[in-house]
Protein backbone atom coordinates (compact mmCIF):
# COMPACT_ATOMS: atom_id res chain seq x y z
CA UNK A 1 0.00 0.00 0.00
CA UNK A 2 1.21 3.47 -0.87
CA UNK A 3 0.12 6.73 0.63
CA UNK A 4 -1.64 9.13 -1.63
CA UNK A 5 -0.19 12.57 -1.00
CA UNK A 6 -3.42 13.68 0.58
CA UNK A 7 -3.21 10.75 2.98
CA UNK A 8 0.05 11.79 4.59
CA UNK A 9 -0.84 12.64 8.17
CA UNK A 10 -1.06 16.43 8.17
CA UNK A 11 0.51 16.60 11.58
CA UNK A 12 3.60 14.91 10.24
CA UNK A 13 3.96 17.24 7.33
CA UNK A 14 3.61 20.24 9.53
CA UNK A 15 5.22 19.27 12.78
CA UNK A 16 8.62 17.92 13.36
CA UNK A 17 9.01 16.88 9.74
CA UNK A 18 12.43 17.42 8.25
CA UNK A 19 13.63 20.79 7.09
CA UNK A 20 15.44 21.08 3.81
CA UNK A 21 19.04 21.94 4.43
CA UNK A 22 20.40 22.62 1.00
CA UNK A 23 19.30 23.34 -2.53
CA UNK A 24 20.37 19.95 -3.87
CA UNK A 25 18.39 18.01 -1.34
CA UNK A 26 15.47 20.39 -1.68
CA UNK A 27 15.39 19.67 -5.39
CA UNK A 28 15.31 15.93 -4.84
CA UNK A 29 12.89 15.66 -1.96
CA UNK A 30 9.26 15.45 -2.89
CA UNK A 31 6.03 14.79 -1.09
CA UNK A 32 5.90 11.41 -2.80
CA UNK A 33 9.27 10.45 -1.43
CA UNK A 34 8.29 11.57 2.04
CA UNK A 35 5.06 9.57 1.78
CA UNK A 36 7.05 6.53 0.66
CA UNK A 37 9.40 7.06 3.56
CA UNK A 38 6.48 6.98 6.01
CA UNK A 39 5.20 3.84 4.36
CA UNK A 40 8.70 2.45 4.61
CA UNK A 41 8.64 3.10 8.35
CA UNK A 42 5.32 1.30 8.68
CA UNK A 43 2.55 0.37 6.25
CA UNK A 44 0.03 1.33 8.92
CA UNK A 45 -0.53 5.08 8.68
CA UNK A 46 -0.93 5.85 12.38
CA UNK A 47 1.91 3.56 13.28
CA UNK A 48 4.12 5.35 10.73
CA UNK A 49 3.47 8.62 12.54
CA UNK A 50 4.54 7.10 15.85
CA UNK A 51 7.61 5.53 14.26
CA UNK A 52 8.56 8.87 12.76
CA UNK A 53 8.32 10.67 16.12
CA UNK A 54 10.31 7.90 17.75
CA UNK A 55 13.02 8.05 15.10
CA UNK A 56 13.29 11.81 15.47
CA UNK A 57 13.59 11.46 19.24
CA UNK A 58 16.37 8.92 18.81
CA UNK A 59 18.25 11.17 16.41
CA UNK A 60 17.85 14.39 18.41
CA UNK A 61 19.00 12.57 21.54
CA UNK A 62 21.97 11.09 19.69
CA UNK A 63 23.16 14.45 18.34
CA UNK A 64 22.50 16.48 21.46
CA UNK A 65 24.36 13.99 23.68
CA UNK A 66 27.22 14.18 21.17
CA UNK A 67 27.32 17.91 22.03
CA UNK A 68 26.33 18.96 18.51
CA UNK A 69 25.37 22.62 18.29
CA UNK A 70 22.19 22.13 16.25
CA UNK A 71 21.01 18.66 17.12
CA UNK A 72 17.60 19.01 15.51
CA UNK A 73 19.04 20.21 12.21
CA UNK A 74 21.42 17.27 12.07
CA UNK A 75 18.50 14.96 12.88
CA UNK A 76 16.60 16.46 9.95
CA UNK A 77 19.63 16.11 7.70
CA UNK A 78 19.84 12.43 8.63
CA UNK A 79 16.17 11.87 7.90
CA UNK A 80 16.48 13.67 4.56
CA UNK A 81 19.31 11.38 3.52
CA UNK A 82 17.40 8.29 4.60
CA UNK A 83 14.33 9.47 2.67
CA UNK A 84 16.40 9.72 -0.51
CA UNK A 85 18.16 6.41 0.04
CA UNK A 86 15.04 4.48 1.02
CA UNK A 87 13.40 5.52 -2.25
CA UNK A 88 16.34 4.14 -4.22
CA UNK A 89 17.10 0.81 -2.64
CA UNK A 90 15.74 -1.81 -0.29
CA UNK A 91 16.94 -1.47 3.31
CA UNK A 92 16.24 -4.28 5.73
CA UNK A 93 17.09 -2.99 9.17
CA UNK A 94 15.60 0.46 9.03
CA UNK A 95 16.40 1.98 12.40
CA UNK A 96 19.90 0.51 12.49
CA UNK A 97 20.44 2.01 9.03
CA UNK A 98 19.32 5.42 10.32
CA UNK A 99 21.87 5.06 13.12
CA UNK A 100 24.60 4.41 10.55
CA UNK A 101 23.59 7.52 8.57
CA UNK A 102 23.44 9.57 11.77
CA UNK A 103 27.03 8.55 12.60
CA UNK A 104 28.16 9.71 9.16
CA UNK A 105 26.34 13.01 9.53
CA UNK A 106 27.96 13.43 12.94
CA UNK A 107 31.45 12.74 11.59
CA UNK A 108 30.90 15.18 8.73
CA UNK A 109 29.75 17.84 11.16
CA UNK A 110 33.05 17.43 13.02
CA UNK A 111 35.05 17.77 9.81
CA UNK A 112 33.36 20.95 8.63
CA UNK A 113 35.65 23.96 8.47
CA UNK A 114 35.60 26.06 11.53
CA UNK A 115 37.62 29.15 10.64
CA UNK A 116 39.27 30.87 13.58
CA UNK A 117 37.92 34.39 13.79
CA UNK A 118 39.44 37.24 15.71
CA UNK A 119 36.95 38.39 18.31
CA UNK A 120 37.46 42.01 17.21
CA UNK A 121 36.38 41.15 13.70
CA UNK A 122 33.10 39.57 14.64
CA UNK A 123 30.19 41.52 13.27
CA UNK A 124 27.89 41.77 16.24
CA UNK A 125 25.18 43.31 14.13
CA UNK A 126 24.54 39.99 12.43
CA UNK A 127 22.04 38.29 14.67
CA UNK A 128 21.15 34.66 14.64
CA UNK A 129 17.68 33.93 13.30
CA UNK A 130 15.21 34.16 16.14
CA UNK A 131 13.32 31.12 17.30
CA UNK A 132 9.56 31.67 17.26
CA UNK A 133 8.36 32.07 20.82
CA UNK A 134 6.10 29.42 22.24
CA UNK A 135 2.45 30.21 21.64
CA UNK A 136 0.28 29.92 24.73
CA UNK A 137 -2.71 30.67 22.57
CA UNK A 138 -2.00 27.55 20.51
CA UNK A 139 -1.49 25.57 23.71
CA UNK A 140 -4.94 26.59 24.93
CA UNK A 141 -6.52 25.68 21.60
CA UNK A 142 -4.83 22.29 21.61
CA UNK A 143 -5.70 21.62 25.24
CA UNK A 144 -9.32 22.21 24.30
CA UNK A 145 -9.03 19.63 21.53
CA UNK A 146 -7.82 16.93 23.91
CA UNK A 147 -10.38 14.58 25.46
CA UNK A 148 -11.43 15.91 28.87
CA UNK A 149 -9.81 13.09 30.82
CA UNK A 150 -6.46 13.57 29.04
CA UNK A 151 -6.57 17.31 29.62
CA UNK A 152 -7.37 16.85 33.31
CA UNK A 153 -4.61 14.27 33.62
CA UNK A 154 -2.01 16.70 32.27
CA UNK A 155 -3.16 19.62 34.39
CA UNK A 156 -3.39 17.43 37.50
CA UNK A 157 0.14 16.22 36.85
CA UNK A 158 1.47 19.75 36.86
CA UNK A 159 -0.80 20.98 39.63
CA UNK A 160 0.70 22.13 42.92
CA UNK A 161 -2.56 22.78 44.63
CA UNK A 162 -2.84 19.45 46.39
CA UNK A 163 -1.06 18.69 49.63
CA UNK A 164 1.96 16.77 48.38
CA UNK A 165 2.92 16.00 44.83
CA UNK A 166 3.77 12.41 45.55
CA UNK A 167 0.44 11.86 47.21
CA UNK A 168 -1.25 13.57 44.35
CA UNK A 169 0.41 11.41 41.75
CA UNK A 170 -0.44 8.36 43.74
CA UNK A 171 -4.06 9.43 43.86
CA UNK A 172 -4.13 10.15 40.12
CA UNK A 173 -2.59 6.78 39.54
CA UNK A 174 -5.13 5.05 41.73
CA UNK A 175 -8.07 6.85 40.21
CA UNK A 176 -7.01 5.70 36.76
CA UNK A 177 -6.18 2.21 37.99
CA UNK A 178 -2.72 2.46 36.64
CA UNK A 179 0.80 2.30 37.98
CA UNK A 180 3.21 5.16 38.46
CA UNK A 181 5.20 4.17 35.39
CA UNK A 182 2.07 3.63 33.35
CA UNK A 183 0.85 7.03 34.50
CA UNK A 184 4.11 8.67 33.44
CA UNK A 185 3.82 6.93 30.07
CA UNK A 186 0.31 8.21 29.62
CA UNK A 187 1.41 11.73 30.53
CA UNK A 188 4.29 11.45 28.05
CA UNK A 189 2.04 10.25 25.23
CA UNK A 190 -0.55 12.95 25.89
CA UNK A 191 2.19 15.58 25.91
CA UNK A 192 3.46 14.25 22.60
CA UNK A 193 0.01 14.63 21.01
CA UNK A 194 -0.22 18.11 22.46
CA UNK A 195 3.22 19.04 21.16
CA UNK A 196 2.36 17.95 17.63
CA UNK A 197 -0.87 19.95 17.77
CA UNK A 198 0.88 23.08 19.11
CA UNK A 199 3.61 22.86 16.48
CA UNK A 200 1.00 22.53 13.78
CA UNK A 201 -0.91 25.49 15.18
CA UNK A 202 2.30 27.56 15.27
CA UNK A 203 3.01 26.67 11.65
CA UNK A 204 6.40 25.24 12.56
CA UNK A 205 8.36 23.00 10.22
CA UNK A 206 6.37 22.88 7.07
CA UNK A 207 9.14 21.20 5.19
CA UNK A 208 7.75 20.11 1.93
CA UNK A 209 5.65 23.16 1.32
CA UNK A 210 8.04 24.32 -1.36
CA UNK A 211 9.35 20.98 -2.49
Amino acid sequence: MRYAIAEIPTTLLKSGAPRLPDAQTRKELTREKFASFLEWLSPDRDRAGEEYERLRFRLCTFFSQRRCSFADELADETINRVILKSSEERIENKIAYCYGVAKNVFRESLRKDRPQVDIDEVNLAAKAPEEPSFSRECLDKCLEKLPADSRDLLLDYFSEAKLAKIKLHRSISESLKTSQTALRMRVMRTKLKLKICVQECMGLNEPLRNA
Binding site: R54, R56, F57, R58, C60, T61, F62, S64, Q65, R66, R67, C68, S69, F70, A71, D72, A75, I95, A96, C98, Y99, E131, F134, R136, L139, D140, L143, L154, L155, D156, Y157, F158, S159, E160, A161, K165, S173, T178, S179, Q180, T181, A182, R184, M185, V187, M188, K191, L194, K195, V198, Q199
Partner: protein, 414 residues
Amino acid sequence: MVNPLKTAETVHEYLLGRVSDETTLEGIEELLFTDEEFCSQVALADDEIINDYVRGRLNRVDADSFRATLPADAERRFKLEMAQALKERALARDLKTAEAKPSFFGPIILFFRQPMYAGAFAVLLIAAVVLAVYLTRRGNGDQLAELRSIYQQSRPTETRISEFGYAPLTQLRGAPESADKNRLRRIENNLIEATEKNPNAQTRHALGVFYLTQHDHQKAIKEFEAALKFGDAAKIRNDLGSAYFERAKTEPEDKRLEDLAQSLEEFTKATKLDGNLLEALFNKSLALQELRMPREAKESWTLYLQKDSSSSWAVEARKNLARLEGQQTFLKKDEQVLSDFLTAYRNHDDARAQTIHDETKGLLRGPALPLQLSRRYLIARQRGDQAGAAESLAAMTYIGSFEQAQHSEFFFLN
Protein backbone atom coordinates in the same frame (compact mmCIF):
# COMPACT_ATOMS: atom_id res chain seq x y z
CA MET B 1 22.20 -10.31 33.98
CA VAL B 2 21.31 -6.63 34.17
CA ASN B 3 23.06 -4.58 31.50
CA PRO B 4 24.69 -1.67 33.38
CA LEU B 5 23.95 0.62 30.44
CA LYS B 6 20.25 0.07 30.96
CA THR B 7 20.08 1.14 34.58
CA ALA B 8 17.97 4.17 35.40
CA GLU B 9 21.08 5.84 36.82
CA THR B 10 23.10 5.49 33.60
CA VAL B 11 20.20 6.71 31.45
CA HIS B 12 19.80 9.70 33.78
CA GLU B 13 23.50 10.54 33.51
CA TYR B 14 23.37 10.17 29.74
CA LEU B 15 20.38 12.48 29.31
CA LEU B 16 22.01 15.09 31.50
CA GLY B 17 25.05 15.07 29.23
CA ARG B 18 27.31 13.57 31.86
CA VAL B 19 28.51 10.52 29.97
CA SER B 20 31.66 11.33 28.06
CA ASP B 21 33.31 7.94 27.83
CA GLU B 22 33.18 6.83 24.18
CA THR B 23 32.54 3.15 24.87
CA THR B 24 29.62 3.91 27.17
CA LEU B 25 28.22 6.50 24.76
CA GLU B 26 28.37 4.10 21.84
CA GLY B 27 26.85 1.32 23.89
CA ILE B 28 23.91 3.50 24.89
CA GLU B 29 23.44 4.80 21.33
CA GLU B 30 23.40 1.30 19.90
CA LEU B 31 20.76 0.27 22.40
CA LEU B 32 18.79 3.42 21.66
CA PHE B 33 18.59 2.49 17.99
CA THR B 34 18.22 -1.26 18.30
CA ASP B 35 16.33 -1.97 21.51
CA GLU B 36 12.72 -0.76 21.45
CA GLU B 37 12.23 -1.24 25.17
CA PHE B 38 15.37 0.74 25.95
CA CYS B 39 14.25 3.52 23.59
CA SER B 40 10.95 3.74 25.51
CA GLN B 41 12.88 3.81 28.78
CA VAL B 42 15.04 6.70 27.54
CA ALA B 43 12.04 8.63 26.17
CA LEU B 44 10.26 8.25 29.47
CA ALA B 45 13.32 9.31 31.46
CA ASP B 46 13.80 12.34 29.19
CA ASP B 47 10.21 13.41 29.72
CA GLU B 48 10.55 12.93 33.45
CA ILE B 49 13.66 15.10 33.62
CA ILE B 50 11.82 17.93 31.88
CA ASN B 51 8.78 17.53 34.16
CA ASP B 52 10.95 17.38 37.26
CA TYR B 53 12.88 20.46 36.20
CA VAL B 54 9.67 22.42 35.70
CA ARG B 55 8.27 21.25 39.03
CA GLY B 56 11.52 22.10 40.83
CA ARG B 57 12.24 18.49 41.70
CA LEU B 58 15.72 18.25 40.22
CA ASN B 59 18.56 18.91 42.61
CA ARG B 60 20.88 21.86 41.90
CA VAL B 61 23.59 19.82 40.16
CA ASP B 62 21.09 18.02 37.92
CA ALA B 63 19.28 21.25 37.16
CA ASP B 64 22.59 22.88 36.12
CA SER B 65 23.41 19.92 33.88
CA PHE B 66 19.95 20.04 32.38
CA ARG B 67 20.26 23.76 31.60
CA ALA B 68 23.63 23.11 29.95
CA THR B 69 21.98 20.76 27.45
CA LEU B 70 19.40 23.33 26.31
CA PRO B 71 21.38 25.61 23.95
CA ALA B 72 22.10 22.77 21.52
CA ASP B 73 18.72 21.10 21.68
CA ALA B 74 15.80 23.01 20.17
CA GLU B 75 13.49 20.04 20.57
CA ARG B 76 14.11 19.92 24.30
CA ARG B 77 13.69 23.69 24.60
CA PHE B 78 10.28 23.39 22.96
CA LYS B 79 9.26 20.58 25.29
CA LEU B 80 10.46 22.61 28.28
CA GLU B 81 8.46 25.67 27.25
CA MET B 82 5.39 23.54 26.80
CA ALA B 83 5.79 21.93 30.24
CA GLN B 84 6.25 25.39 31.81
CA ALA B 85 3.12 26.64 30.07
CA LEU B 86 1.21 23.58 31.27
CA LYS B 87 2.28 24.29 34.82
CA GLU B 88 0.98 27.85 34.49
CA ARG B 89 -2.32 26.58 33.14
CA ALA B 90 -2.59 24.08 36.01
CA LEU B 91 -1.99 26.88 38.50
CA ALA B 92 -4.63 29.06 36.86
CA ARG B 93 -7.12 26.19 36.92
CA ASP B 94 -6.42 25.47 40.58
CA LEU B 95 -7.00 29.09 41.51
CA LYS B 96 -10.28 29.15 39.61
CA THR B 97 -11.41 25.90 41.21
CA ALA B 98 -10.50 27.06 44.70
CA GLU B 99 -12.63 30.16 44.27
CA ALA B 100 -15.62 28.38 42.81
CA LYS B 101 -15.83 25.05 44.60
CA PRO B 102 -17.56 24.58 47.99
CA SER B 103 -15.96 22.16 50.45
CA PHE B 104 -16.59 18.49 49.62
CA PHE B 105 -16.74 17.53 53.27
CA GLY B 106 -19.35 20.14 54.24
CA PRO B 107 -22.48 18.10 53.45
CA ILE B 108 -20.93 14.93 54.95
CA ILE B 109 -20.11 16.70 58.20
CA LEU B 110 -23.65 18.10 58.35
CA PHE B 111 -25.06 14.58 57.76
CA PHE B 112 -23.15 13.03 60.65
CA ARG B 113 -24.04 15.87 63.01
CA GLN B 114 -27.60 14.49 63.08
CA PRO B 115 -27.62 11.64 65.65
CA MET B 116 -30.40 9.69 63.94
CA TYR B 117 -28.51 9.39 60.64
CA ALA B 118 -25.22 8.61 62.37
CA GLY B 119 -26.88 5.80 64.36
CA ALA B 120 -28.47 4.29 61.25
CA PHE B 121 -25.14 4.37 59.48
CA ALA B 122 -23.45 2.57 62.40
CA VAL B 123 -26.09 -0.21 62.33
CA LEU B 124 -25.62 -0.66 58.60
CA LEU B 125 -21.86 -0.81 59.03
CA ILE B 126 -22.06 -3.52 61.72
CA ALA B 127 -24.46 -5.56 59.57
CA ALA B 128 -22.09 -5.35 56.64
CA VAL B 129 -19.14 -6.53 58.76
CA VAL B 130 -21.15 -9.47 60.18
CA LEU B 131 -22.25 -10.46 56.67
CA ALA B 132 -18.69 -10.27 55.37
CA VAL B 133 -17.40 -12.49 58.20
CA TYR B 134 -20.19 -14.98 57.58
CA LEU B 135 -19.47 -15.13 53.88
CA THR B 136 -15.72 -15.46 54.29
CA ARG B 137 -16.16 -18.40 56.65
CA ARG B 138 -17.99 -20.30 53.94
CA GLY B 139 -15.11 -21.43 52.14
CA ASN B 140 -12.98 -22.43 49.30
CA GLY B 141 -10.34 -23.62 51.70
CA ASP B 142 -10.62 -27.22 50.58
CA GLN B 143 -10.39 -26.34 46.94
CA LEU B 144 -7.31 -24.18 47.46
CA ALA B 145 -5.69 -26.84 49.65
CA GLU B 146 -6.14 -29.33 46.84
CA LEU B 147 -4.82 -26.86 44.30
CA ARG B 148 -1.73 -26.25 46.47
CA SER B 149 -1.15 -29.97 46.76
CA ILE B 150 -0.96 -30.27 42.99
CA TYR B 151 1.87 -27.76 42.96
CA GLN B 152 3.87 -28.97 45.92
CA GLN B 153 6.62 -30.42 43.73
CA SER B 154 6.93 -27.62 41.24
CA ARG B 155 5.45 -24.17 41.66
CA PRO B 156 3.46 -22.70 38.79
CA THR B 157 4.78 -19.14 38.93
CA GLU B 158 8.09 -17.43 39.58
CA THR B 159 6.37 -15.14 42.06
CA ARG B 160 4.97 -16.32 45.38
CA ILE B 161 1.23 -16.90 45.46
CA SER B 162 -0.37 -16.23 48.83
CA GLU B 163 -0.27 -19.23 51.17
CA PHE B 164 1.46 -21.51 48.68
CA GLY B 165 4.36 -23.41 50.21
CA TYR B 166 7.81 -23.54 48.72
CA ALA B 167 8.43 -25.57 45.59
CA PRO B 168 11.16 -25.03 43.06
CA LEU B 169 10.35 -23.28 39.83
CA THR B 170 10.56 -25.66 36.91
CA GLN B 171 10.93 -23.85 33.63
CA LEU B 172 9.32 -26.54 31.48
CA ARG B 173 6.42 -28.04 33.30
CA GLY B 174 4.76 -29.66 30.32
CA ALA B 175 1.11 -30.62 30.34
CA PRO B 176 -0.32 -31.81 33.66
CA GLU B 177 -0.88 -35.51 34.27
CA SER B 178 -4.36 -36.61 33.27
CA ALA B 179 -5.25 -37.26 36.93
CA ASP B 180 -4.18 -33.71 37.71
CA LYS B 181 -6.18 -32.46 34.76
CA ASN B 182 -9.33 -33.99 36.20
CA ARG B 183 -8.61 -32.60 39.62
CA LEU B 184 -7.97 -29.16 38.13
CA ARG B 185 -11.22 -29.27 36.17
CA ARG B 186 -13.11 -30.24 39.30
CA ILE B 187 -11.46 -27.51 41.34
CA GLU B 188 -12.28 -24.93 38.66
CA ASN B 189 -15.93 -26.01 38.51
CA ASN B 190 -16.28 -25.88 42.28
CA LEU B 191 -14.65 -22.47 42.49
CA ILE B 192 -16.84 -21.07 39.71
CA GLU B 193 -19.93 -22.46 41.38
CA ALA B 194 -18.92 -21.00 44.72
CA THR B 195 -18.35 -17.62 43.08
CA GLU B 196 -21.74 -17.68 41.42
CA LYS B 197 -23.50 -18.63 44.64
CA ASN B 198 -21.57 -16.29 46.88
CA PRO B 199 -19.76 -13.61 44.96
CA ASN B 200 -17.51 -12.19 47.66
CA ALA B 201 -13.86 -11.31 48.17
CA GLN B 202 -12.88 -14.82 49.22
CA THR B 203 -14.55 -16.73 46.39
CA ARG B 204 -13.34 -14.34 43.71
CA HIS B 205 -9.84 -14.33 45.19
CA ALA B 206 -9.76 -18.13 45.20
CA LEU B 207 -10.95 -18.32 41.60
CA GLY B 208 -8.32 -15.74 40.65
CA VAL B 209 -5.62 -17.87 42.30
CA PHE B 210 -6.79 -20.85 40.29
CA TYR B 211 -6.55 -18.91 37.02
CA LEU B 212 -3.14 -17.58 38.02
CA THR B 213 -1.81 -21.09 38.50
CA GLN B 214 -3.17 -21.97 35.03
CA HIS B 215 -1.46 -18.89 33.51
CA ASP B 216 -4.79 -17.45 32.46
CA HIS B 217 -3.59 -14.03 33.55
CA GLN B 218 -6.42 -12.00 32.08
CA LYS B 219 -9.08 -13.94 33.97
CA ALA B 220 -6.96 -13.93 37.12
CA ILE B 221 -6.60 -10.14 37.01
CA LYS B 222 -10.34 -9.76 36.46
CA GLU B 223 -11.15 -11.94 39.49
CA PHE B 224 -8.63 -10.23 41.77
CA GLU B 225 -9.90 -6.81 40.81
CA ALA B 226 -13.44 -7.96 41.46
CA ALA B 227 -12.33 -9.31 44.86
CA LEU B 228 -10.76 -5.97 45.74
CA LYS B 229 -14.07 -4.23 45.24
CA PHE B 230 -15.23 -5.93 48.44
CA GLY B 231 -12.33 -4.38 50.35
CA ASP B 232 -8.61 -3.93 50.17
CA ALA B 233 -6.52 -6.89 51.30
CA ALA B 234 -2.79 -7.51 51.23
CA LYS B 235 -3.03 -11.07 49.91
CA ILE B 236 -5.32 -10.13 47.04
CA ARG B 237 -3.00 -7.25 46.14
CA ASN B 238 -0.06 -9.64 46.22
CA ASP B 239 -1.75 -12.13 43.92
CA LEU B 240 -2.93 -9.38 41.57
CA GLY B 241 0.69 -8.22 41.39
CA SER B 242 1.75 -11.79 40.61
CA ALA B 243 -0.73 -11.95 37.75
CA TYR B 244 0.69 -8.75 36.24
CA PHE B 245 4.26 -9.98 36.79
CA GLU B 246 3.58 -13.29 35.08
CA ARG B 247 1.62 -11.64 32.27
CA ALA B 248 4.58 -9.33 31.61
CA LYS B 249 6.55 -12.37 30.46
CA THR B 250 4.09 -12.99 27.67
CA GLU B 251 3.71 -9.38 26.53
CA PRO B 252 5.52 -7.65 23.67
CA GLU B 253 8.40 -5.46 24.77
CA ASP B 254 6.51 -2.19 24.98
CA LYS B 255 3.77 -3.64 27.22
CA ARG B 256 6.12 -5.66 29.39
CA LEU B 257 7.43 -2.66 31.29
CA GLU B 258 3.91 -1.42 31.92
CA ASP B 259 2.85 -4.75 33.44
CA LEU B 260 5.98 -4.98 35.55
CA ALA B 261 5.42 -1.48 36.88
CA GLN B 262 1.83 -2.39 37.70
CA SER B 263 2.97 -5.51 39.52
CA LEU B 264 5.44 -3.46 41.59
CA GLU B 265 2.63 -1.08 42.48
CA GLU B 266 0.45 -3.94 43.71
CA PHE B 267 3.24 -5.58 45.72
CA THR B 268 4.05 -2.24 47.31
CA LYS B 269 0.40 -1.75 48.27
CA ALA B 270 0.35 -5.26 49.73
CA THR B 271 3.43 -4.59 51.88
CA LYS B 272 1.90 -1.36 53.09
CA LEU B 273 -1.26 -3.17 54.13
CA ASP B 274 0.74 -5.92 55.80
CA GLY B 275 4.42 -5.28 56.39
CA ASN B 276 4.99 -8.92 57.37
CA LEU B 277 3.43 -10.55 54.32
CA LEU B 278 6.49 -12.47 53.15
CA GLU B 279 4.98 -13.34 49.77
CA ALA B 280 4.61 -9.67 48.90
CA LEU B 281 8.09 -8.76 50.18
CA PHE B 282 9.59 -11.54 48.09
CA ASN B 283 7.62 -10.57 45.00
CA LYS B 284 8.42 -6.89 45.37
CA SER B 285 12.13 -7.71 45.31
CA LEU B 286 11.63 -9.80 42.18
CA ALA B 287 9.74 -6.99 40.45
CA LEU B 288 12.44 -4.44 41.31
CA GLN B 289 15.03 -6.81 39.94
CA GLU B 290 13.10 -7.29 36.70
CA LEU B 291 12.59 -3.55 36.39
CA ARG B 292 16.36 -3.16 36.48
CA MET B 293 16.46 -1.22 39.73
CA PRO B 294 19.40 -3.08 41.29
CA ARG B 295 19.95 -0.83 44.28
CA GLU B 296 16.31 -0.96 45.32
CA ALA B 297 16.15 -4.69 44.59
CA LYS B 298 19.17 -5.29 46.79
CA GLU B 299 17.63 -3.33 49.65
CA SER B 300 14.37 -5.19 49.22
CA TRP B 301 16.01 -8.65 49.26
CA THR B 302 17.99 -7.63 52.35
CA LEU B 303 14.77 -6.59 54.07
CA TYR B 304 13.17 -9.88 53.08
CA LEU B 305 16.04 -11.86 54.55
CA GLN B 306 15.75 -9.98 57.82
CA LYS B 307 12.21 -11.32 58.13
CA ASP B 308 12.83 -14.78 56.69
CA SER B 309 16.34 -16.10 56.98
CA SER B 310 15.84 -19.85 57.04
CA SER B 311 13.12 -21.02 54.64
CA SER B 312 13.67 -22.39 51.16
CA TRP B 313 12.35 -19.08 49.86
CA ALA B 314 15.21 -17.41 51.74
CA VAL B 315 17.69 -19.57 49.87
CA GLU B 316 16.30 -18.23 46.58
CA ALA B 317 16.33 -14.71 47.95
CA ARG B 318 20.00 -15.10 48.93
CA LYS B 319 20.87 -16.38 45.46
CA ASN B 320 19.20 -13.38 43.84
CA LEU B 321 20.97 -11.02 46.20
CA ALA B 322 24.33 -12.64 45.55
CA ARG B 323 23.76 -12.41 41.80
CA LEU B 324 22.98 -8.72 42.06
CA GLU B 325 26.00 -8.03 44.21
CA GLY B 326 28.31 -10.06 42.05
CA GLN B 327 27.24 -8.49 38.79
CA GLN B 328 26.93 -4.88 39.66
CA THR B 329 29.88 -2.69 40.32
CA PHE B 330 27.33 0.12 40.57
CA LEU B 331 25.96 -1.48 43.70
CA LYS B 332 29.22 -1.37 45.54
CA LYS B 333 30.26 1.47 47.74
CA ASP B 334 32.93 3.75 46.35
CA GLU B 335 35.59 2.45 48.76
CA GLN B 336 34.77 -1.13 47.78
CA VAL B 337 35.25 -0.30 44.09
CA LEU B 338 38.63 1.28 44.84
CA SER B 339 39.67 -1.60 47.07
CA ASP B 340 38.71 -4.20 44.44
CA PHE B 341 40.59 -2.26 41.79
CA LEU B 342 43.74 -1.95 43.92
CA THR B 343 43.69 -5.64 44.70
CA ALA B 344 43.51 -6.48 40.99
CA TYR B 345 46.18 -3.87 40.20
CA ARG B 346 48.57 -5.22 42.83
CA ASN B 347 48.01 -8.78 41.59
CA HIS B 348 48.67 -7.67 38.01
CA ASP B 349 45.16 -8.90 37.16
CA ASP B 350 44.83 -6.53 34.21
CA ALA B 351 41.55 -7.92 32.95
CA ARG B 352 39.82 -7.45 36.31
CA ALA B 353 41.33 -4.00 36.93
CA GLN B 354 40.31 -2.80 33.49
CA THR B 355 36.80 -4.19 33.85
CA ILE B 356 36.33 -2.29 37.10
CA HIS B 357 37.59 0.88 35.45
CA ASP B 358 35.37 0.38 32.39
CA GLU B 359 32.32 -0.11 34.55
CA THR B 360 32.79 3.13 36.47
CA LYS B 361 34.59 5.56 34.22
CA GLY B 362 31.44 6.80 32.49
CA LEU B 363 30.13 8.15 35.75
CA LEU B 364 32.90 10.73 36.20
CA ARG B 365 31.93 11.02 39.88
CA GLY B 366 31.57 8.88 43.03
CA PRO B 367 33.11 5.51 42.27
CA ALA B 368 35.11 6.62 39.21
CA LEU B 369 38.66 5.43 39.81
CA PRO B 370 40.66 8.45 38.59
CA LEU B 371 38.75 10.65 41.04
CA GLN B 372 39.16 8.22 43.91
CA LEU B 373 42.84 7.70 43.15
CA SER B 374 43.49 11.46 42.99
CA ARG B 375 41.82 11.86 46.38
CA ARG B 376 43.81 8.94 47.77
CA TYR B 377 47.02 10.47 46.41
CA LEU B 378 46.35 13.85 48.05
CA ILE B 379 45.42 12.31 51.39
CA ALA B 380 48.56 10.13 51.31
CA ARG B 381 50.73 13.18 50.56
CA GLN B 382 49.10 15.10 53.37
CA ARG B 383 49.81 12.27 55.78
CA GLY B 384 53.34 11.80 54.53
CA ASP B 385 52.49 8.32 53.24
CA GLN B 386 54.97 8.21 50.36
CA ALA B 387 54.19 4.61 49.40
CA GLY B 388 50.43 5.26 49.22
CA ALA B 389 50.96 8.40 47.16
CA ALA B 390 53.33 6.65 44.76
CA GLU B 391 50.97 3.71 44.34
CA SER B 392 48.00 6.01 43.63
CA LEU B 393 50.01 7.91 41.05
CA ALA B 394 51.23 4.70 39.41
CA ALA B 395 47.69 3.33 39.30
CA MET B 396 46.46 6.53 37.62
CA THR B 397 49.25 6.26 35.05
CA TYR B 398 48.28 2.63 34.53
CA ILE B 399 44.66 3.65 33.77
CA GLY B 400 45.85 6.42 31.47
CA SER B 401 48.14 4.07 29.53
CA PHE B 402 45.36 1.52 29.26
CA GLU B 403 42.92 4.10 27.88
CA GLN B 404 45.52 5.37 25.44
CA ALA B 405 46.36 1.89 24.19
CA GLN B 406 42.82 0.52 24.01
CA HIS B 407 40.75 3.53 22.98
CA SER B 408 43.27 6.19 21.89
CA GLU B 409 41.84 8.21 24.77
CA PHE B 410 44.19 10.77 26.27
CA PHE B 411 41.79 12.22 28.80
CA PHE B 412 42.91 9.95 31.64
CA LEU B 413 46.58 10.69 31.05
CA ASN B 414 46.12 14.38 31.87
